[in-house]
C-alpha cells in the first residue's frame, strides 16, 4: 500500500520533510520504522510517537491506515 507519512515540529526540520509518500508492504509499526530509519537515519536518535487515525500506536501495531504521523515531544502551554 502507499502510505502518507507526516512529520511535525523538530522531526520535520531534521528530515527536511513535512509530508512524503512511500510504498509499504504489510507489517507492523516496527517494520515501518526500519524503512523510515533507512530513509532518514537521523530519526533513530530522536524521541517520537507514531499516530495512526489520531491514536498512538506501539511497535507491534499493524499499519492499516494510509496516513501515519510522527510526533516529537509536546510543548503546549
Amino acid at each position: 500500500m502507499t502510505l502518507k507519512i507526516k512529520y511535525f515540529g523538530m522531526l520535520a526540520e531534521i528530515t527536511q520533510c513535512e509530508e512524503e509518500t512511500l510504498s509499504f508492504s504489510k507489517g507492523t509499526a516496527a517494520d515501518l520504522l526500519k524503512v523510515l530509519f533507512e530513509k532518514h537515519p537521523i530519526l533513530e536518535e530522536k524521541e517520537f510517537q507514531i499516530a495512526q487515525n489520531q491514536t498512538f500506536i506501539s511497535n507491534d501495531s499493524i499499519i492499516s491506515n494510509a496516513e501515519i504521523v510522527l510526533l516529537p515531544p509536546f510543548a503546549g502551554g
Binding site: 511535525f8 515540529g9 523538530m10 504521523v69 510526533l71 516529537p72 515531544p73 509536546f74 510543548a75 502551554g77
Partner: protein, 148 residues
C-alpha cells in the same frame, strides 16, 4: 444522558490579548449561577539557555488530533468536576516573551471545583495535546521546547 457538546475552536493565531481575556470574563456576568471562576494564563518565558535569551516561541500543532484531544479533555473535565462552563484557547504561530499563549477559564457555582479542574486541565493539555514549540533566540537561532 450526558449532553453532547460541539467541538469548540481552541487555536488562535498569535498571542492571546488581555482584551480578549477581559471580554471573555465580561461575557459571564449574565450567568448568575456561577459563584467562582478560575483562570490559568500561560506566558512565554524569556529563558536563558547557554547565554542566549528566548525572545519568542513559534507554535505549531497536529491540528486535527489536537482539536479532537481538546474536545476529549473538555468532556472528561466536565464529567470529573461540577463546572458551569469551560473555555480553552491556545496560540499558534509566533508568541513573544511576556505574551500569553494559553488561556484556560473554568466556572462553577463553588470554588473547590474550579481550583481542582484548572490544575487537571492544564496538566492534561500539556501532556496530551500534540502542540510543538520552537524557541527562537535573539540571534535567530532556535531550539525545540519540550514540556517538563
Amino acid at each position: 444522558m450526558t449532553k453532547e457538546r460541539k467541538p469548540k475552536p481552541v487555536f488562535i493565531e498569535g498571542a492571546i490579548s488581555a482584551e480578549f481575556i477581559g471580554n471573555s470574563i465580561a461575557k459571564h456576568q449574565s450567568k448568575t449561577t456561577i459563584g467562582a471562576h478560575d483562570i490559568f494564563l500561560g506566558q512565554v518565558r524569556a529563558d536563558q539557555i547557554e547565554g542566549k535569551t528566548v525572545k519568542a516561541i513559534e507554535y505549531t500543532a497536529y491540528e486535527d488530533m489536537a482539536n479532537s484531544k481538546f474536545h476529549d479533555i473538555r468532556e472528561a473535565t466536565f464529567k470529573k468536576f461540577n463546572l458551569t462552563c469551560m473555555h480553552i484557547y491556545h496560540s499558534l504561530g509566533t508568541v513573544k516573551a511576556g505574551e500569553i499563549c494559553l488561556f484556560v477559564f473554568v466556572s462553577s457555582p463553588r470554588r473547590v471545583d474550579v481550583f481542582n479542574a484548572i490544575e487537571y486541565l492544564v496538566n492534561t493539555i500539556k501532556e496530551q495535546v500534540p502542540i510543538f514549540g520552537k524557541e527562537i533566540f535573539e540571534d535567530q537561532s532556535h531550539q525545540w521546547k519540550v514540556n517538563s
